[in-house]
Amino acid sequence: MSPGWILRAAAIAGYTLLMAPAVLVAAISFSAGDFLTFPPPGFSTRWYVALLTNAELMTALRNSAILALIVAFVALLAGAPAAYALARLDFPGRAAIAAFLAAPLLLPSLVLGLALLLALQPLKLAATWPGLVLAHSMVAVPFAVRIMATAFAAVPRDLEEAAWTLGATRLRAAWRITLPLAAPGAVAAGALCFLVSFDETVISLFLVGPRLTTLPVEMFRYAESRTDPLVAALAMTLILVALAVVLLVERLVGFSKALGRE
């Protein structure tokens, strides 16, 4: 049955609401004005120039990019073997371990951030690289495990078994057959983990300090205190990074499948 006009209109309203913030951020980021005024008084790239010449924000951007790369790497390195075990092997306690490896995603990031502050502050690990990598890994590792487990499960078992028949050891078969076939899933998982860390705000707010801060935290603080289009240029930068990751993941494995709870 083709959708009627009421459904079409209601769906368009829904999509408008979903798209509106990103569209407005894009428009305002090129504003020539001094405030978040719509319509913008004129077109200019001055706020992007202001962003690029803002030393503090550029340091935060560099920190966030490095942190996200390390977190994605750690998440894949720890997550891929775990995902292989969960997807391919049978052992006592499998369900319990699978639940444990997904558990941090069920915890509100506010509570996780508070818990990490209480644990890392006394150890002098708050506002340090190891502390932030560990904190961001709590969101990234479960993501990597989930996506990689789906990717490994999608590789037909027959191929691995054929390799065994031909004399390959289990390790060799996993390394030479299953892993390469699951590679698109691994790249998708790495990209999503990068983004999860790059965008992470709430946990970081508990853990950053004057010595080490991240871009989303600086954007949050900027938006809390001032409302000039610099913050829109900053937001646009984050949206573009997110968009790049979304398109990459969509190409590789399909976005809904990667995020789906099924």
Partner: protein, 275 residues
């Protein structure tokens, strides 16, 4: 054996960064705060009693529950037509339409708040339109208050509702609606008597998920509320980082977790009932 070896790194990282901190959070909620504001080792429920005995806590809880329920309801209602359209769309459009509905999930919450500031602010899109149309002579306050928080939170919860509804509605048999139409039912009657009852379990699941997420939302209430909107999440943040009363922050976080676990149990009961 090899399985446990493969699992070890991931389990070890989560034990250090999740299990230990959450256990410590529970432990610290049993500590006390002295009159001077220092933390005192203890094994008592004094801090819980102090938090639960404070009228402000209950005001915050009521604020939070009302906000989350309203925004979750609105997000679910707005996601329904989106999910129905995707279900009815030709297969080749479904992927793009789903992507457009779910992708905002990955846009930083702060970036979206900046967009809402440009829409709802005193010099924003809506006020510009209202003034231009002559519908208002002064800007209407749509931001830095509860209105702004409700709108922002609704939008930030919508992709989650879409995710649940797209999956849930995709499983429903479209032939039932076609049969109703063939038998002479109007569109609205088919929707009310066939589609809506069939979609009810998915709608309930979407509402409960977005409610749980709304209860613990922090960025939107903080930024869209402009410091004038107080919910449980903003209070936990302030207790931890401004007042630096760790036991109180931990106790309130434990109470929030308890409430969320209750809501999730309810969700699994609902899921089992309707499965």
């Amino acid at each position: 054996m090899i399985a446990y070896l493969l699992l070890l790194p991931a389990v070890a990282i989560l034990a250090a960064g999740f299990l230990y901190p959450v256990a410590l959070l529970a432990r610290i909620s049993l500590n006390r705060t002295t009159d001077l504001g220092a933390m005192e080792e203890a094994l008592s429920l004094d801090t819980f009693a102090k938090v639960a005995g404070d009228e402000f806590t209950w005001e915050l809880a009521a604020n939070t529950a009302t906000l989350a329920a309203g925004s979750a309801l609105a997000a679910t209602a707005l996601a329904l037509p989106v999910a129905l359209l995707i279900r009815a769309a030709p297969a080749r459009w479904r992927g793009v339409l789903s992507l457009m509905a779910i992708a905002p999930l990955l846009i930083s919450g702060t970036a979206r708040v900046v967009g809402w500031m440009a829409i709802l602010g005193d010099r924003g899109l809506i006020n510009a339109a209202l003034l231009w149309l002559g519908l208002a002579s002064d800007p209407v306050r749509l931001i830095n208050n509860w209105t702004g928080v409700r709108i922002g939170l609704t939008e930030s919860l919508m992709p989650y509702a879409c995710l649940v509804l797209i999956a849930g509605l995709g499983r429903l048999d479209t032939r039932l609606e076609e049969a109703a139409a063939t038998l002479g039912a109007t569109r609205s009657r088919t929707f009310l008597r066939i589609t809506l009852p069939l979609a009810l379990p998915a709608l309930l699941a979407a509402f409960l998920l977005t409610f749980v997420l709304g209860v613990s939302a922090f960025i939107t209430p903080r930024l869209m509320g402009g410091g004038r909107v107080f919910v449980v999440a903003t209070e936990i943040f302030d207790l931890a980082l401004q007042t630096v009363d760790w036991p109180a922050a931990a106790a309130m976080a434990m109470l929030l977790l308890g409430a969320l676990i209750l809501a999730m149990l309810l969700r699994s009961v609902v899921a089992r009932r309707t499965a």
